[in-house]
Subunit: 323 residues, 2 copies
């Protein structure tokens, strides 16, 4: 068996940027937020944190920004430099290759910071930490953040069929017992699209992030939740997603990565439970979700969900890890 | 923008093994070749090169092998050890973690070598080099290789729609010119499934590999090809795939990864051409394909295709790179 990490390498080149650019919900939201608000951008200085191929920098330049600085530590910025030039923005956009925490920027104060920093489950491998450093170091008092608000939600889903395929598959692999891998599979949240009809409870807000004021330590949190069943059904997993808002716009721009909304490349995040809960309509599944960077590798995310079904006396606790 | 290499990391854990195990063409072929030939395996010593989760080792043990040694350098072998034990094979199967070229194996001569070493385009990130080292160092004279034959094929396809989406997309990204990325995209072969009806020429064998006798240097090669059009159509890309045979079996087991065969996780490999060729039925597209490990990084594969359509005077040459 070979490593077959072809796509990983491939996406380091340009494929991952193709996926993000073709995510029209994502890129379209930034375009609307920036291009429909030239009054906010005209004559202003803009910092694009994690600029990638430079698309947000070019939106800002097109909206009338006086000077845009895009920064990225990935080699993709070499392509961005060619793209900026090909599109006639070389005078307005300055690209900087490196880590924002380490480099010297050509401008010391910005009117606006734009950044597409969101990861799976909002926070997995996200660049929010870097955006907060940029905010505290470079944003003028009263300056704007695009976006400025993120909200994380949780619900419970019926998902027997896919749980069979992804988790219980390991019970019997060509007649062999692979249950040690089943344990690993259960503890690894699955990034995938879920149909709205699979959702069996109301959603519950578990984390609200105001990018204007949030501190790094706020991203380690414990959130209680209560999920009210909307019908009689079985629960096989919890489901998380996030919404994003650009409230700095005259008419706020918003998008959701939830199961009720149009596909995005973030999809949703599924946390399978070891057992299956039976819920009647209006029953409540309650518990708490904790989220913290892994102590050994801060790029990994430790997520623990404790939950109690309507008939449970003791809560069940499952430790997940995104890595 | 975040790196979003979640799946790459995830597959380092177990996801890539899930994909390979669920590829029933692949795993089923090995199962049939091994389990249906207990006469070949009974009482024999078997070496499993790149054993992964240990599935081929367990097939060999189940087929009656006296002793199986599985070797893998990936951490997945820690799971394989648990799986071997859970399935009662701990006495028959010995697992070794490390590089075959460097470690000491508990047995010095084997009757049979089994290995699933094939990569995309057969040779990209393949483990064939290691299998050849194992063959020359550990296989008894007259010993068997499972599989023992691989064949690479080329054809030409009509693929306007997808070429628009994957290549020409970069001409206009939200109104911006991204053509520098278009050049990169064109030179990177695309691993994807292609429908049989897209194939507009007969296939041409470009490389036959007899694993019993092939040498490492044979894997750097130049192959001429002539592709005869089976209908009037346009050619947007070349398409490559491979077939695998287990001729050591009493009834040979074979599978194909071509567009005419059942889906495998290897899919096919698409090489888009810069121009579009018009071909009439019976016209020939001729040229040569060269393949070599990249000089700087031998894990990368340099593939050059020179070709001439029916009306071309000069051949067109395109250098591709799988990396």
């Amino acid at each position: 068996m070979t490593s077959r990490d072809y796509y990983a390498d491939s996406y380091a080149h340009f494929g991952i940027h193709e996926e993000m650019l073709k995510d029209t919900v994502r890129t379209g939201a930034y375009r609307n937020a920036i291009l429909n608000n030239p009054n906010l951008f005209k004559g202003k200085t803009v910092l694009d944190v994690g600029c990638g191929t430079g698309i947000l920098s070019m939106f800002a330049a097109k909206a009338g920004a006086k000077h845009v600085v895009g920064i990225d530590m990935s080699n993709i910025i070499d392509q961005a430099q060619k793209i900026i030039k090909a599109n006639g923005f070389a005078d307005v956009i300055t690209l900087v290759k490196g880590k924002l925490e380490e480099v010297e920027l050509p401008i010391k104060e910005f009117d606006i910071i734009v950044s597409e920093w969101m990861g799976y489950f909002l926070l997995y491998e996200s660049m929010l930490d870097t955006v907060l450093v940029a905010r505290d170091k470079y944003l003028k008092p009263g300056g704007l953040l695009f976006p400025d608000e993120a909200t994380l939600y949780l619900a419970a889903i019926e998902d027997m069929e896919y749980k069979e395929e992804k988790i219980n598959f390991w019970d019997n692999v060509y007649g062999f017992d692979y249950s040690c891998i089943k344990d690993l599979a259960l503890r690894e949240p699955l990034v995938d699209t879920v149909e709205l009809k699979a959702v069996v409870t109301d959603p519950c807000l578990i984390k609200h992030v105001n990018i204007n004021t949030v501190k790094k330590e706020d991203l380690t949190f414990i959130a209680p939740f209560t999920l009210k069943a909307t019908r009689d059904d079985y629960v096989h997993a919890f489901l998380a997603w996030f919404d994003i808002s650009f409230n700095g716009c005259r008419v706020p721009v918003r998008f959701s990565t939830g199961p009720h909304a149009k596909y995005t490349h973030w999809k949703q995040t599924v946390f399978y439970t070891p057992d299956t809960l039976a819920v009647a309509s209006s029953d409540e599944v309650s518990g708490e979700l904790s989220c913290a960077p892994n102590a050994r590798n801060p790029r990994d995310l430790d997520i623990t969900i404790s939950y109690k079904g309507p008939t449970d006396v003791q809560p069940m606790t499952v430790q997940y890890k995104m890595s």
